[in-house]
Amino acid sequence: MINKVVSTLAEALDGIQDGASILVGGFGSTGIPFQLIDALFEKDVRHLTIIANNAGNKEEGVARLLGGGRVDKIICTYPRSTDCYIMERLYKEGKIELELVPQGTFTERMRAAGAGIGGFYTPTGVGTKIAEGKEIRNFDGMDYVLERPLKADVALLKAQTADRWGNLAYNKTGMNFAPLMATAASLTVVQVSEIVELGGIDPQRVNTPGIFVQRVVQVGDPL
């Protein structure tokens, strides 16, 4: 019998080691797996590479990991915001490596990793700093830059609903990167508000089929 539901956040993160690369879902404050991140902080693994759209606000979410010295490198599209002072400080002090990726390319690189695509040509970033050192190729009169898949050891995600097979339904714009990240990690771990019986999610409403998910943990609503 397949049962991907684990009882505790600690179990959900079991086996994650120093040096792991970790995809973290969420855009702004929607879809952020805060409880999983907090549990990862408690677990005290280090030298992480974090791959996330944002770098967290105040001392919450990814910012907490950054502030706690857990992260060597961040791959990110928009690490800046009003309350993103930890990332600001670490960056200015040269204490963190930053790989900046345009958001559409970020998304597409994760999709490629999950879909077995070895590389793709995108028009995004051509003629800019982002394309420096990368292959540029012209197809039908238009320039494209070659980008490579972005895969990771772990994905930490948030969804609304799951079942024991790991099928997921997200809520509204809380979905954002999660369906792509789920496919791009060896170990996809999801915190959910609700666990339902098999068949409890309409098969036409499953956003992430369980094949892409390894562990599910139910958490109380953070707010």
Binding site: F27, Q103, T105, K129, N171, L180
Partner: protein
Amino acid sequence: MKTAIVETELKPLTRRQMAWRAAQDIVDGSYVNLGIGMPTLIADYVVAGREIIYHSENGLLGMGPAPPAGQEDLDLINAGKQYVTIVPGGSYFDSSVAFAMMRGGHLSMVFMGAFQVSESGDLANWSTNDEKALPAVGGAMDLAVGCKDIRVLMEHVTRDGKPRILKECTYPLTAKKVVKKIYTDHAVLDIDEKGFVVREMIEGLTFERLQKMTEAELHLDPQWRVLDVPEL
């Protein structure tokens, strides 16, 4: 002895007036992305009766206005991380679909803010080249490719009077040869094969004076009109 050049007192557009002017150009049935900042004001001034569908690159098509205070949905935000609503006919999807809409050329129009625009349509709106500042690009580069109708809203010059409309951008580029039209607080300009063409200027502004505020060479459309906006 100084020669006093008496220039007409000009009344540059406010940010809301610039947004109003841009809004007039959105035709019925358009799929539009309004970039973070000033462009988001555009939605307030769309011509009545026109049905416009707003796209937000975090996975939302059919974005509605901000919710009444107290009715914010924590899982419903736009790409500017503001609480929004969804209109009937709207849909949610993952980021890869959101960016396919942009990169694949499915949007009708994109309005963005900018630091600089060059006469070949190069756009600089993500970095001021400050080596110490934390860089952040978000969806800007993706928004600037794909769509065939990319428009910029920006003040004509910087706060300290330096031109933003240039032969070549001095700030790092967001994308090359993409901007088609610029709405400034002084004028409306198109970019075509010969460079910048002035279509509208505010009351009292002369072409010579506008050219002085602009590094790139301007061409005046013989059919140019006064950039006329209501008080807002």
